[in-house]
């Protein structure tokens, strides 16, 4: 005998796919409606502690390219991270057991909310977004990487820099026990990078915590790294432990190592060559042995968003 059971859930109760995909907007609307009484749950970035763990609640961010991203394998096995060695495959081979918890980020300098933040607490106020960006290395190769991260501009705003803060400086962890490359003197450690406050407040840069919707691999700068898509890759400092709001221009690692070859700005610029090689064209990784190099774009193709930052700057001198 066939017994007809009513469905447990009435169709009207089922969230439509469109509403499901817009749930963050829906909750935000609710949060706004509820004012400060409602602490909007699910809006804060929660980064699971596990290698390649999937990141939840990642919204599609703006400015993503529709170019095909590089494979996860290319992105995670071919990169520079001198703290783990000088070869391109060294980071993947040696960062396996790198500890990304507990992780503390120190915020210092000219800002209202300075202090020591546990990584999870640091991330909590921000929203995770996917940003698919072109990455142009100063060595004339490039990739397309689907990052997951939080807007650097939001982070900067959150810490409330004072009017004295002209620059934001970053530092990488300096732990020779975990990072074999630090025992060599290839660079003056710790690795240092910086942006002007205007650059850091631009909507493009992100602090990335993931790739391909998963927790960022150790070798790519876990647990948190900078991504500035219109600048050469070395500006994207990895495994950040310090953020400093500074009145004066901070020293940056590659500039200290070879000031004639690597400037503070390091904007991607096909018309200003590196002293030892041309920057006019780039090799897109993953295109195979017989693929042609492609033309490098001014500001790596992000001129519309950033060209105004440099309108009074001689980019030939300020490379």
């Amino acid at each position: 005998m066939l017994i007809r059971k009513p469905a447990d859930i009435r169709p009207s109760e089922i969230t439509s796919e469109a509403n499901y995909l817009n749930r963050r907007d829906f909750m935000r609307a609710g949060a706004i409606a509820g004012g400060s009484l409602l602490a909007a749950p699910g809006l804060s970035a929660v980064i699971p502690d596990g290698r390649y763990a999937r990141l939840a609640d990642v919204a599609k961010g703006p400015y993503s390219t529709d170019e095909t991203p590089n494979s996860f394998e290319d992105i995670s096995t071919y990169n520079n991270f001198y703290e783990f060695g000088l070869g391109k495959s060294d980071p993947a081979a040696r960062a396996e057991n790198f500890r990304t918890r507990p992780w503390t980020i120190e915020v210092t300098g000219h800002a209202e909310k300075t202090g020591s933040y546990d990584f999870d607490a640091f991330m909590k106020p921000f929203d995770l977004e996917e940003r698919i960006y072109r990455m142009r290395c100063v060595e004339a190769w490039s990739m397309v990487i689907p990052w997951v991260g939080v807007s650097l501009a939001e982070v900067i705003k959150y810490f409330q820099p004072t009017s004295k803060a002209q620059y934001v400086a970053f530092e990488t962890l300096n732990d020779p026990e975990q990072m074999p490359g630090l025992r060599g003197r290839s660079l003056d450690w710790p690795y240092r990078e910086g942006l002007t406050i205007a650059e850091a407040s631009n909507p493009l840069p992100i602090l990335a915590v993931g790739i391909y919707g998963k927790v960022i691999p150790n070798q790519n700068g876990a647990p948190i790294r900078l991504v500035v898509p219109w600048k050469y890759g070395f500006k994207g400092i990895k495994s950040i432990v310090k953020i400093h709001f500074s009145e004066t221009r901070p020293k940056t690692s590659w500039n200290m190592a070879a000031p004639g070859e690597y400037g503070f700005y390091a904007n991607v610029n096909p018309t200003v060559d590196h002293p030892r090689w041309s920057q006019a064209r780039e090799r897109r990784i993953g295109t195979g042995i017989f693929a042609e190099r492609q033309a490098t774009l001014m500001f790596n193709g992000y001129g519309e968003q950033v060209a105004h930052l440099y309108k009074d700057l001689d980019l030939r001198r300020n490379y």
Binding site: W141, L187, R281
Partner: protein, 209 residues
């Protein structure tokens, strides 16, 4: 079989196959039969051939000192082959740069050759090596007489150019170029030492006949 025949029919073919192995490995890696060339295969191909060119020039330059120190005169029978393999790997390195990396763009190539000193150095080394390879035939060697040796002394210059080229090319880590520089210094140093020793001996002999 006497010693000469053993060298000619057994040892030489064996060494030949052994010397060719790194090139075969690049090819099989390119087609993922053995390992692979990684995310940037063109860079990997250039690096591998360039490194082997430097290794072979060191091996070639080691023949004479080794022969003198050990008394194994048969070593000199391999010198030409090793020298030609140096040329072969340098040529493959050059062709990989020309065809795969620069994609035969004349403008790019000329700019590189004239404006990037490390490429000028490497290119000069390849041109000189080509001259040595062309004149390596026995018949030509006989015909050139004493000029042959003067021309082939260029190998010392080529070795210095090669190491210098590598040194200037690396971004930061000079460990590997430094290793080649140390080996080359030793190989050239021992020759210089022997020459000075001989000159002193000759001078002494002149004074005390």
């Amino acid at each position: 079989m006497n010693t000469l025949q053993t060298i000619r029919y057994v040892a030489k073919p064996l060494v030949f196959v052994l010397c060719l192995l790194p090139a075969v490995l690049v090819l099989t890696d390119a087609f993922d039969i053995t390992g692979g060339l990684g995310a940037n295969p063109i860079e990997a191909i250039q690096d591998r051939f360039g490194n082997w060119a430097l290794r072979f020039i060191m091996i070639t330059l080691a023949v004479t000192p080794l022969r003198r120190l050990t008394g194994w005169n048969w070593l000199s029978r391999f010198r030409r082959m090793l020298g030609l393999f140096t040329f072969f790997y340098a040529l493959m390195h050059f062709l990989a740069w020309l065809i795969l990396d620069r994609e035969l763009h004349v403008g790019d190539i000329l700019e590189d050759l004239t404006e990037r000193p490390f490429i000028t150095l490497g290119f000069t080394a390849v041109v000189l090596l080509t001259a040595l390879a062309i004149t390596s035939f026995t018949a030509l060697r006989r015909r050139m007489g004493r000029h042959w040796q003067s021309l082939h002394n260029a190998i010392y210059v080529i070795a210095i150019l090669g190491v210098w080229h590598y040194w200037w090319q690396v971004k930061k880590d000079i460990t590997e170029p430094l290793i080649y520089a140390v080996i080359l210094t030793a190989l050239l140093g021992i020759r210089l030492f022997w020459r000075l020793q001989r000159n002193t001996r000759l001078a002494t002999a002149k004074q005390h006949p």
